[in-house]
Every structure is written in C-alpha cells, then in structure tokens.
C-alpha cells in the first residue's frame, strides 16, 4: 500500500524537520517521508550528522582552564571547604 501521495520532501523542508526527527516527534508518515529523503540525499544525511555532532560537542564538559580565574578560585575554595566539613 502506497500511502505517500504527496510530493517528496525537498532539502529545504528536511532541515526544518531535523529536531522533530531527533526528538521522535514526527508522525509515522512524516518520519517515513523524512527517512526516505535521507536515504537518497547525502547532503541532508551529512547535515543531520553535523547536528548530532553539535549536540555531542555541546555536552562535553569544559576543561578547568576555560573557567574564568575568579570562578575557578571560588570553586576550589568551595571544594576545600566542603572536604574539610
């Protein structure tokens, strides 16, 4: 049974659906349409991979040297205080 009578998704529309896709918020029909587009579009597949990479990078903890010095000192102070209690 062919359910998709509507026109195929184009890239301009696909990029707007990426977050809904990652969040699992597309309906079954929408998801199938989106995945069918990805299957034949290497650029949108790359775009989705880049969004995933962006999310992964955003979740990486900051190295201590990136903290402002004042904040770092405060944190160290706080940690010592907590340890001595």
């Amino acid at each position: 049974m062919k359910l998709l009578r509507g026109r195929d998704l184009v890239c301009r529309q696909a990029v707007e659906l990426m977050t809904d896709y990652l969040e699992g918020r597309l309906s079954r029909v929408e998801r199938r349409r989106f995945e069918a587009h990805l299957a034949r579009c290497p650029h949108c597949t790359e775009y989705l991979a880049q969004l995933r990479e962006t999310i992964r990078l955003a979740g990486q903890p900051a190295a201590p040297e990136e903290l402002p010095p004042q904040l770092r000192d405060d944190l160290i102070q706080l940690y010592r205080q907590w340890q001595s209690e």
Binding site: R5, R12, T19, E30, C44, Y47, Q50, T54, A58, G59
Partner: protein
C-alpha cells in the same frame, strides 16, 4: 476533510497527507474511543489537531538555513561543508560553549538545559515553564545556529 485540513497547511499535498494520517490515527485509536462524542466529531478533532501541528511546523517563521543555499526546487545549491572530522583541530567544543552564550536568551536556556546539562524535554519544559512545542522550536533554532557557526568556522579556516 481535505478542505478543512488545507486551511491549516500551506499546500494541497500536505493536506492530503494530514488526511491520510488522520485515518491511520483513527484506525489505530478506535479501541480507545469512548463514545463521549460522535465518531465524526472525534475524527475531526484528530484532523484539526494534526493539521494544526503540521501547519505550525511547515510555516516556522524564519528558516534555520539561509534560503539562498537552496535552488529553486528546494535542493541544496550550497551543501553543508563537511567539518565533523576537523572538530577537534578547530576546538569546536570550546567554541560552542562560547557561542551558546551568544544565542538569544530563550534559545540559550533551552540549549543549556537540554544539550549541556542533559535534561529531558519534559524536564526542560517544566523548568522553563514553556510548552513542549515551544521548547522544541527554541531547541531547533539554537542547535541549527550552533551547527551553522561550526560550518562557518570550518570554512574560514580553509
């Protein structure tokens, strides 16, 4: 049904999909139909709900990718530059942390809670007192902006 759906969405093709989707949803949910309204009212409630969600989605005011990067048919004319393998060399993780601070306030809050702190969508909605739909739009805009900045950084380094 088709005309009603069409009043919510931008094109006839999309309206047809909403109608198909509605029938599917009805078939799947028929077991939970409690008969508090007529079957017809229930069917139209599903239709309007779906059409409304689809309508908001397809008409999201500002596109997240510069429209000039697509050709007339909506395909990529200027496809995304492949920066993933250069992410470490460009120290993109550190840069992203700084770029997050430059996002518009509500996007920044959602991205911080979801992608930096790892909260679930439901928790982020509760913390910020925003609807799920709104949370998702903000997340979409914020993440898309950060991805674009990574690409810009990569292109500049080339």
């Amino acid at each position: 049904m088709l005309r009603l759906a069409a009043s919510f969405v931008p094109s006839r093709a999309v309206a047809e999909e909403v109608v198909q989707d509605t029938w599917l949803a009805m078939l799947r949910g028929i077991g939970s139909f409690e008969g508090r309204s007529s079957l017809k009212t229930w069917l139209f409630q599903i239709l309007v709900n779906r059409a409304r969600t689809t309508g908001t989605r397809e008409q999201r005011s500002t596109p997240v990718v510069d429209p000039a990067r697509f050709d007339g048919a909506g395909g990529w004319a200027d496809p995304p530059a492949e920066w993933i393998s250069a992410a470490d060399d460009l120290r993109l993780a550190a840069r992203i942390r700084k770029w997050i601070d430059l996002l518009p306030e509500r996007q920044r809050q959602v991205v911080l809670l979801r992608d930096v702190e790892g909260l679930t969508a439901a928790d982020a909605c509760a913390v910020l007192a925003v609807s799920e739909e709104n949370q998702r739009v903000l997340l979409h805009r914020g993440r898309s902006r950060l991805r674009q900045l990574c690409e810009d950084e990569y292109r500049e380094a080339q």
